[in-house]
């Protein structure tokens, strides 16, 4: 079976946003029959990454079912806008980092699922990185 093609992009060349900026993204789905699609979810979210427990938060979420689309077809291009919040800002640290991304999830009938992500940064907090003694 051919895997569905998920196209997700942020409008414009900018990948670095400030708090309060508007993020515009577009997505489109191809190489799959409309009847095979159960749902499509788009989220704008942040998550932490590090050596300990993980955390995440969803800033924007939209789930669409075939009944929500014209002719029941969720594949055509869709554009979404979301005003970005004041926090948490993207951060790269020694113990924990905070990442932002737009995530598109496609759910097919019979339980198959496909995900694509488009990362971006919010704010411009300087990185704080561990000092590791390199071997001589």
């Amino acid at each position: 079976m051919i895997e569905p093609l998920l196209s997700l992009c942020l409008a414009g060349p900018n990948r670095n946003f400030a708090a309060g900026d508007e993020l515009v993204c577009e997505y489109q789905i191809d190489a799959v029959e409309p009847a095979d699609i159960q749902a499509v979810e788009l989220s704008v979210l942040w998550y932490t990454e590090g050596k300990g427990e993980e955390d995440m938060g969803v800033h924007f979420f939209e789930r669409r079912l075939p009944a929500d689309a014209e002719d029941g077809d969720l594949r055509p291009m869709r554009r979404l806008r979301s005003k970005l919040p004041n926090s948490p800002l993207s951060y790269r640290g020694a113990i924990v980092s905070v990442f932002w991304c737009v995530r598109l999830r496609l759910f097919l009938r019979r339980g198959r699922e496909f995900v694509v992500e488009e990362p971006f940064t919010l704010g411009s907090v300087p990185a704080v990185l561990p000092a590791i003694a390199e071997p001589s």
Binding site: Y47, E49, E54, S97, L129
Partner: protein, 193 residues
């Protein structure tokens, strides 16, 4: 900002594939568990991949028709065995999976085993030492395995971490694979900026 391949989200059980020793596979271990009446143990030291192996066995257990109830006995969380003894999986096809079985007292281990036998439920556990159940596998990570895991995490073209880094982290962690991967997290983080 690039993701650190040694972060928890990439190395936690279920996120990273378990690399079976030569001649072993999920199917073979499930078959051994079935042959022992669905009672078995996975033994190994801290950070040797026991929980990762459990996660790798989950799909095969489901395929074998077992209804699995899994419990992780983390040292930091309050936990009481009554939590699972009050909500047993179905008789005849249920399997109770307990990760960190040695953390239960002798009395609760005995009661758990007796309850499983009485209700015709299987019991699969992980522990640091022999708990008296049939041993499915003893996890024994090696430096060669650590290098293999690191290569998988990094991908074929990533050169930030070299073989010498893995050996140094492995030695410093005293053969604890999980700790070695966390040491490499710091190395990766400092080099990638």
């Amino acid at each position: 900002m690039t993701s650190n391949p040694f972060a928890t989200r990439h190395i936690r059980p279920g996120a990273v594939d378990y690399i079976f020793p030569p001649g072993q596979s999920a199917a073979a271990l499930i078959e051994r568990l079935r042959a022992s009446g669905w009672f078995g143990q996975i033994i190994g030291p801290h950070g040797s991949g026991k929980s990762t192996l459990l996660a790798a066995l989950a799909p095969a257990l489901k395929q074998a028709g077992r209804t699995v109830h899994s419990y992780h006995l983390g040292t930091l969380r309050q936990f009481h065995p009554k939590d699972y003894l009050d909500k047993l999986p179905p008789s005849g096809r249920g399997l109770l999976v307990i990760d960190g079985y040695e953390q239960l007292s002798w009395w609760w281990r005995r009661r758990t085993l007796a309850t499983c036998r009485r209700h015709d439920i299987g019991l699969l556990v992980t522990a640091h030492q022999d708990m008296g159940l049939p041993t499915l596998l003893t996890t024994e990570p090696t430096l060669a395995l650590a290098k293999q895991v690191v290569r998988r995490l990094l991908g074929p073209d990533e050169a930030t971490i070299a073989g010498g880094d893995v050996k140094r982290a492995w030695d410093e962690a005293g053969g604890n694979l999980r700790e070695a991967l966390f040491k490499l997290y710091d190395v990766y983080q400092s080099r990638r900026g």
